[in-house]
């Protein structure tokens, strides 16, 4: 009881404050709850902060160096005597972005005095060593390099290698491009100007400034909407890196936390360096220009180190709004902004008032906008990318900052582009073809080493769509015939260039039981024709007969040796080109012929270096002898006859100087494909013309593709093809009618090469000219 009483007493005793006690305990419970909630919240916040921290560190360290691969053309090498015109040289300097000035004083500038060019080359690190910057004097005479002097040593030079033209890059799916710069490569004035304009307290704050945020808040409250960001450079970087462009409170919150975290982990120099590589400074088509390094090239065509005060001011001014102040589209706005920056720089004592005044009187000095280098040679870049994919992952190409040295010759590429477009338009007009439908593709390599100099995959040469040079797999027609004749010449069946082949009616029973009766293009028979003339005039019947004698397997074997990998139908129609190949595959086939029976893989890349110029992989010249050099020599001599007196005669008229080119026309049924493949001393080219829907073109190989080929060769500076007979070949005089050997210098006789001991015997007397067969052949 007492206990009860006591309890009740207690109750009574506490009756004065039971409510307050209850209130207190409730408050305590509430407090506890609040504490728990707060703790939980803190926990969530901590977890969230940790998460942000993780994101920041991962992204910051990972993405900081995501650099697209840079792709370069072949470097231009000059030496006394090299065939090269002053015009070509100027174009090269233009592509390189060298500046024409009165007196060259910095690398990448040049001037012309009379027939001499004075220039200061840019230093460059190649895969086989460094090229320092040089002051040189180049004189061109009669289409050649007349002399080459180093102006510092006043000595003649044997060889000069310029830096290579940058022809593009492989950019991430985000379409960002940048040239990475290290802080120590950035002019200190740029860093100071940037800080003065964008974030004066950068070196003092911890990622955010309360004053800045308060100021922004006040401005926003007054305006009733968000007008000011009040961001530090760190906050801007965070925004660029991780956050969307929406201006919400939540984003601001994230931004603040992340900015603080970033400052916690990284020092100021890391942050400013990243900022300078990250900031958005312009747009080039689809390509976004990020960072000062690339912006400097994009706007002024020079490296960051070489910017003048007013150029630095312009770039710093662009940070506020790269499209609003775009100096190319809105030069007035840009000028105003730049001068404002210059005044501010002077006001902060970064430059003197005098310098600022002088600088603000200068023009913007923005280089003319060049067509986006990424889209300049799309078909060639496509080939490079495909060859690289064998060795690299896509991510490596877009993020590792690889430097890729290719074989592209901008001069040959641009000549081919121009001529292809001109010829196609002219052909459409001449043959009354529907406008804009005729398509074309071309591949040009260096005859001697199979380096790809030019690729065109579409008549609209900048269009990066279907790449016909690599992907248009079309019937090749007579382009395949050299393989049949080569099989014969390389066989041990005693074939020579003079072997008479029968051109008369031929009926072949196919495995399906049908009868196939091949016809000549002129639908006539020519009797017995020497082997080389049968090829020169591209007669079908003797070719099929020859092929039948050799067998499809032997001809396919020859094609495989020449480098053709695609499926080849093992039927007699193969001898007339009922096989489908792409222009690049045809290029490989003819390349092996041009190489004298030595196969060298067609290649577009010379070397790949990593971002610190360490060689990662080279693609050296390799050769493999696949066919007897003597047989190939005989065949190439016959291919020269194709151009001299056969189906490709128009080449001689178009080029107008003796080139001794070797080549072959190709035409398919109903004139659907027009082909020409051929080579000169320096260039090998394959041209295809046709319709994408495979409809007839009204063009033969000779009236279509050949015209393109010949014009390109003429304009690109093709050199004569001078063959050296290999050992074991000798020339004798042959009567082309009888195929018999004659005494030297008969009127009707021709000089033909033979593999030693296959020359015909005996010597016959000269024959009179008026022979029926002879007349028929040459229309005399």
């Amino acid at each position: 009881m007492p206990a009860r009483r006591a309890r009740s007493g207690n109750r009574r005793a506490g009756s004065r404050r039971p409510r307050s006690r209850r209130q207190a305990s409730r408050r305590r419970r509430l407090l506890r709850l609040l504490l728990i909630v707060l703790a939980l919240l803190m926990l969530v916040l901590a977890a969230y902060t940790l998460y942000l921290d993780f994101v920041i560190r991962k992204q910051f360290e990972g993405r900081r160096w995501a650099l697209p691969a840079r792709v370069y053309a072949r470097p231009l090498e000059l030496y006394p005597g090299k065939a090269f015109t002053a015009r070509r040289f100027e174009r090269e300097l233009q592509l390189l972005g060298y500046h024409r000035v009165d007196t060259p004083q910095e690398p990448g500038s040049w001037t012309q005095i009379g027939d001499a060019y004075l220039l200061i080359t840019r230093p460059f690190v190649f895969w086989d060593g460094k090229e320092p910057s040089r002051r040189v004097r180049v004189v061109f005479r009669n289409g050649r390099v007349g002399s080459l002097h180093d102006m510092d040593t006043s000595r003649g030079m044997d060889l000069l290698r310029l830096d290579p033209v940058l022809i593009g890059g492989f950019i991430t799916s985000r379409n960002e491009d940048r040239v990475l710069v290290r802080l120590n490569e950035v002019p200190p004035l740029l860093v100071r100007a940037l800080i003065a304009i964008e974030d004066r307290d950068f070196y003092r704050h911890h990622g955010i400034t309360l004053r800045g945020m308060a100021r922004a808040l006040w401005a926003n409250l007054r305006a009733g909407r968000t007008v000011q960001g009040g961001s530090t450079l760190t906050q801007q970087l965070v925004k660029n890196y991780f956050l969307s462009n929406r201006r919400t409170l939540w984003r601001k919150f994230n931004e603040v936390i992340m900015a603080l975290l970033l400052e916690l982990h990284y020092d100021k120099n890391d942050i400013i360096e990243s900022y300078m590589n990250e900031v958005y400074l312009g747009q080039d088509g689809r390509r976004a220009i990020h960072g000062f390094g690339l912006a400097s090239h994009f706007y002024f065509n020079r490296p960051l180190k070489r910017l003048r005060v007013e150029q630095i001011a312009l770039l710093v001014g662009l940070v506020k709004g790269a499209s609003y102040y775009d100096p190319r589209r809105h030069p007035q706005r840009a000028l105003k902004r730049r001068n404002l920056v210059l005044r501010e720089m002077a006001g902060r004592g970064l430059i003197t008032q005098g310098v600022a005044l002088a600088a603000s009187r200068r023009g913007l000095g923005v280089a003319p906008h060049r067509h986006s280098s990424l889209a300049r040679y799309p078909a060639f870049m496509d080939l490079v990318r495909r060859q690289l994919r064998r060795d690299y992952r896509e991510e490596d190409l877009t993020s590792e900052g690889l430097r890729i040295f290719t074989t592209l010759d901008p001069h040959v590429q641009e000549t081919a582009e121009r001529e292809l477009a001109l010829r196609i338009t002219a052909l459409e007009r001449a043959y009354r073809l529907p406008r804009g439908k005729l398509q074309g593709a071309m591949v040009i390599t260096r005859t001697s080493n199979a380096e790809v100099l030019a690729v065109i995959g579409d008549r609209r040469v900048r269009y990066a769509g279907f790449n016909r040079a690599l992907d248009a797999v079309r019937q090749v027609g007579s382009l395949i015939k050299p393989a049949v004749y080569l099989t014969a010449l390389a066989s041990d069946k005693g074939f020579t260039l003079a072997t008479p082949l029968r051109d008369s009616r031929l009926r072949i029973r196919t495995p399906q039981g049908d009868i196939w009766e091949p016809q000549n293009y002129d639908r006539r028979y020519h009797g017995d024709v020497p082997l080389y003339l049968s090829l020169a005039h591209s007669y079908n019947i003797p070719t099929v007969r020859l092929g039948m004698q050799l067998g499809t397997a032997a001809v396919i074997d020859t094609l495989r040796r020449l480098g053709v990998r695609r499926y080849l139908p093992p039927y007699p129609s193969l001898f007339l080109g009922a096989a489908r190949l792409s222009p690049i595959e045809v290029t490989q086939m003819y390349q092996t012929l041009a190489g004298g029976g030595f196969r060298t893989p067609v290649r577009a890349i010379r070397a790949v270096l990593d971002k610190s110029s360490k060689p990662l992989r080279r693609y050296p010249l390799t050769v493999e002898q696949v066919i007897d050099a003597r047989a190939v020599y005989l065949l190439v001599r016959a291919l020269q006859e194709v151009v001299r007196q056969g189906t490709a005669r128009p080449v001689v008229t178009i080029i107008g100087r003796p080139l001794m080119a070797a080549g072959k026309t190709g035409t398919t049924d109903d004139l659907r494909d027009s082909w020409f493949a051929g080579f000169t001393g320096n260039y090998l080219g394959v041209v295809w013309l046709g319709m994408d829907d495979n409809s007839p073109t009204r063009l033969t190989g000779a009236t279509g593709a050949l015209r393109v080929w010949a014009h390109v060769m003429r304009e690109a500076g093709a050199t004569p093809l001078r063959l050296r007979p290999p050992q074991g070949v000798r020339e004798v005089w042959i009567d082309p009618v009888t195929g018999q050997r004659t005494s030297d210098g008969c009127d009707t006789a021709v000089r033909l090469p033979f593999v030693t001991d296959t020359e015909p015997e005996p010597v016959v007397q000269c024959r009179k000219r008026n022979n029926k067969w002879w007349k028929r052949l040459f229309g005399l």
């Binding site: 006394p80 001697s448 030595f598 080279r618 050296p620 050769v623 004569p720 050992q727």
Partner: protein, 166 residues
């Protein structure tokens, strides 16, 4: 058979003949036409690129001596772009591959040089030695045997044509 029996002896001479770096450039048939492009372009054209090629080959040889084969090969390749039909440049390339123990490529390159070498006996001799050594190293005995025969034949002809040189 006699040749096969005498092969070990021959190989000693072969290896010595082809091993060391080429001290001097073998006499090349300096063909006015090989390196010049357009026909009839005056005396300047006759030496077109030759000095550049020699400068590149000198630098390549220095690198080769330091064992920097890849860089040496890159320089020889540049020389080849200037004079693609100069068999000596091809021979240098073959020499680098030989030192790298890339025998198949060395042989092919030497064959390419041979296809351009014309009747120059000493150059042919050097090249056949390289080919013999490449084939020998690859275990292509039959091929090595044929190459050795060429070497022997060439040596005999060199003795006959210029005994004073030996």
């Amino acid at each position: 058979m006699t040749v096969i029996r005498s092969m070990p002896l021959l190989f000693v001479s072969l290896l010595f003949g082809a091993c060391g770096p080429v001290r001097e450039m073998p006499r090349v048939p300096v063909d006015d036409r090989t390196s010049t492009s357009a026909a009839g372009s005056g005396p300047a054209a006759a030496v077109t690129g030759r000095r550049a090629v020699l400068a590149l080959l000198r630098r390549a040889q220095a690198l080769q001596a330091q064992g920097k084969y890849a860089r040496a090969a890159a320089l020889v390749e540049r020389a080849l772009r200037i004079e693609p039909e100069n068999p000596v440049v091809w021979q240098r390339m073959a020499g680098i591959r030989l030192q790298q123990a890339r025998y198949r490529q060395a042989e092919s390159l030497a064959m390419r040089a041979l296809s351009l070498a014309g009747p120059e006996l000493r150059l042919r001799l050097t090249l056949w030695r390289m080919i013999a050594r490449s084939r020998y190293q690859r275990g292509d005995w039959r091929g090595a045997d044929r190459a050795v025969r060429e070497v022997v034949g060439l040596q005999r002809r060199i003795h006959q044509t210029a005994p004073a040189n030996r």
